[in-house]
């Protein structure tokens, strides 16, 4: 059990900056998710914590120990890899037992602990098999069991679910969440999947180009995005970002439509963010603005309307019983309480 502290951590390969002077403090027993698109530095950050990558500069602390110069084996962490990293020549039992054996755990202790870990991930009947004989989901469970068979200071998970099919991913996600609440061990979890981040995390660090864009609870990053990147990255469908200006306390689209009142000073260019959930769809003439439907999609649980709004397209979520057709005209109203304003140049959120 330990907290993890990164101080001004930087990783460079020649001119390429992987992680740029980041500091981060992960509390004891916290489940922190590093979220971002590929190449944003999230995996590099995790690999530096594990000791598989050497930082160019900066410090890594696990508990009250600076671990920069420690080998991976001396850092007392356990890691789950995207490709599982199982030992194909060993049985499942030996795979799970390996961290214990190599650390010199007495033989009598090994078997019960392996069996307990295997039971926790529902693998008990497979202990005699080789990894080759297991399905993808079972292999991932083996990797998980191998991590939880010891009680390490920190769990590191590098996109552990991304090689699984969609359905299995949902099941495993729930199992992971259950397990993490049970074990209460500091966890760093890397993913590019915002649903995983939202559902698993105590706190999420959204990364881009080696820099943490926002660090906060899932609620905060969803409801209070710090900048355009976070706003556009979190949420499915992505937040609508509409270009325009503020004139006389109203947001006006680039096409000149006066749309909604906003509490911000007038400015020539601004981006208005609004989630599909925060738009109400009604019959033409009944809402704020009439728009033509570009595409109508029924997902079963809801309907998604992509509408042509001047030169831009915007996605609104409609009632699941709504039935419209391409080129129909509907009216859209924005929820005035959930509008976000951003500076288009810096990308930063404008208070308002």
């Amino acid at each position: 059990m330990a907290e993890v502290i990164l101080k001004n951590l930087t990783k460079r390969w020649g001119d390429f900056i992987g992680v740029d002077d980041q500091s981060l403090s992960i509390a004891d027993r916290e489940f922190l998710v590093l979220l971002g698109p590929s190449g944003c530095g999230k995996t590099t950050t995790m690999r530096m914590i594990a000791g598989l990558e050497e930082p160019t500069s900066g410090e890594i602390w696990i508990g009250d120990r600076k671990v920069n110069d420690d080998l991976p084996k001396d850092r007392d962490v356990a890691m789950v890899f995207q490709n599982y990293g199982l030992y194909p020549h060993m049985t499942i039992f030996d795979n799970i037992a390996y961290p214990l054996k190599v650390r010199g755990t007495p033989k009598s202790e090994i078997a019960p602990r392996v069996e307990k870990a295997a039971a926790q991930v529902e693998l008990s009947q497979f202990l005699d098999r080789k990894p080759k004989a297991l399905s993808g989901g079972q292999r991932q469970r083996v990797a998980l069991a191998r991590a939880i068979v010891r009680t390490p200071k920190v769990f590191l998970m590098d996109e552990p679910l991304s090689n699984l099919d969609a359905k299995l991913r949902v099941t495993m996600r729930a199992e992971l969440k259950h397990l993490s609440r049970e074990l209460k061990i500091t966890t760093v979890y890397v993913t590019h999947d915002q649903i995983e981040a939202m559902t698993l995390a105590d706190r999420v660090a959204v990364m881009k180009n080696g820099v943490i864009q926002q660090l906060g609870t899932p609620d905060e990053i969803y409801n209070d995005p710090a900048n355009l990147f976070v706003a556009g990255f979190i949420g499915s469908p992505a937040m609508n970002l509409i270009n325009g200006s503020i004139q006389n306390g109203h947001f006006v689209t680039t096409g000149g439509t006066r749309l909604v009142p906003v509490e911000a000073a007038d400015r020539a260019s601004v981006v208005l963010g609004v989630r599909a959930d925060d738009m109400r769809v009604s019959e033409a003439g009944e809402g704020d603005i009439d728009v033509r439907i570009y595409a109508f999609e029924n997902t079963g649980e809801a309907t998604l309307l992509t509408v042509q709004w001047g030169k831009q397209r915007v996605i609104a979520k409609g009632d699941r019983h709504l039935r419209k057709d391409q080129d129909d005209v509907v009216s859209i109203s924005l929820n005035h309480d959930h509008l976000y304003l951003f500076d288009p140049d810096s990308g930063n959120r404008i208070a308002g």
Partner: protein, 294 residues
């Protein structure tokens, strides 16, 4: 709704002016292929078959092309007696090939692992240089070897031959084993390191077992190369350390080549290779494909 019959795909593109359909053409090509393969097989197998027959013929029958003759084992007993004493050569060959492999594989494995996993200064240059040593014709360097071995007293010793064979097989072994180690996912090694292994433990517990089929394959190739090596053994030995391939030269007599004895000795050289290949063919294939499919 009626369904029109699907046109035969072979018939479909057929040019009416041509006499042959696509299927007929395919058959002709297939027949030509089979004939060519049979010819090639025949050319390769005839000398071996001839040797097998000659080894069991007496010295009168050996120049005839008789397929039916009274077989004799006399040749095999003769080659082990004075003045040929093939037994000594057999011992020499076995010792030289065995120790060549025994030293080559561990050293090559360490080199291959380093090349595969670490970023070394001048890595590409070193790898290419190692390979380039293979392109030097043996004849060119054999004289310096002779002089050098004479001065340090390695001439006509098994140790000398082992050293030479090591130099011959090492580049090959390094490249081959590197291919196998490249095929082991890095994730697996990293997992072992995070799980608490030192680099040495990673190599012992993970890399070696996973590369075992490859090491076995490389070892067998090295054994075959050392077993068959002729030129260096010819120049660097004369009495004590003579190996089997050189032993064959003993069967040149005043009355001409003793083909029946030569054939018997040839079989003694070949049989261990056949047996080896049969015993390990499972690993052989596994090893070959493991290197091929990354």
């Amino acid at each position: 709704m009626s369904v029109a019959p699907m046109p035969d795909p072979e018939e479909f593109g057929r040019n009416p002016r041509q006499g042959l359909s696509g299927r007929q053409k395919k058959q002709i090509v297939r027949s030509v292929q089979v004939i060519l393969i049979l010819i090639a097989t025949f050319i390769m197998l005839v000398p071996i078959a001839w040797i097998f027959l000659a080894a069991f013929k007496n010295h009168l029958d050996v120049y005839t092309l008789k397929i039916f003759f009274k077989p004799t084992l006399e040749n095999f007993s003769l080659v082990f007696q004075e003045p040929y004493t093939l037994g000594e050569k057999l011992v020499n060959s076995t010792i030289v090939a065995f120790f060549t492999v025994l030293f080559a594989i561990p050293i090559a494995t360490m080199a291959a692992y380093s090349f595969s996993r670490f970023r070394l200064v001048g890595e590409t240059a070193m790898l290419v240089t190692i390979l380039a040593t293979q392109f030097v014709p043996a004849v060119v360097i054999i004289l310096p070897f002779f002089v050098m071995f004479r001065d340090v007293g390695l001439l006509d010793t098994r140790l000398g031959l082992i050293l030479v064979n090591l130099a011959i097989v090492m580049p090959f072994a390094i490249w081959m084993i590197k291919g196998f180690i490249d095929g082991i996912p890095l994730d697996t090694e990293e997992a072992a390191m995070v799980d608490g292994s030192s680099r040495a433990q990673v190599i012992r517990n993970i890399v070696l077992p996973m590369a075992a089929p490859g090491l076995l394959t490389a070892g067998i190739f090295c054994f075959i190369i050392a077993w068959n090596e002729f030129l260096f053994a010819l120049i660097l030995t004369n009495k004590d350390a003579v190996t089997l391939p050189i032993g064959l030269a003993l069967f040149k007599a005043e009355e001409g080549d003793l083909w029946n004895l030569l054939s018997a000795a040839g079989i003694i050289i070949m049989v261990p290779m056949f047996v080896l290949a049969l015993l390990i063919r499972k690993y052989f294939v596994q090893g070959m494909t493991m290197g091929a499919v990354r």
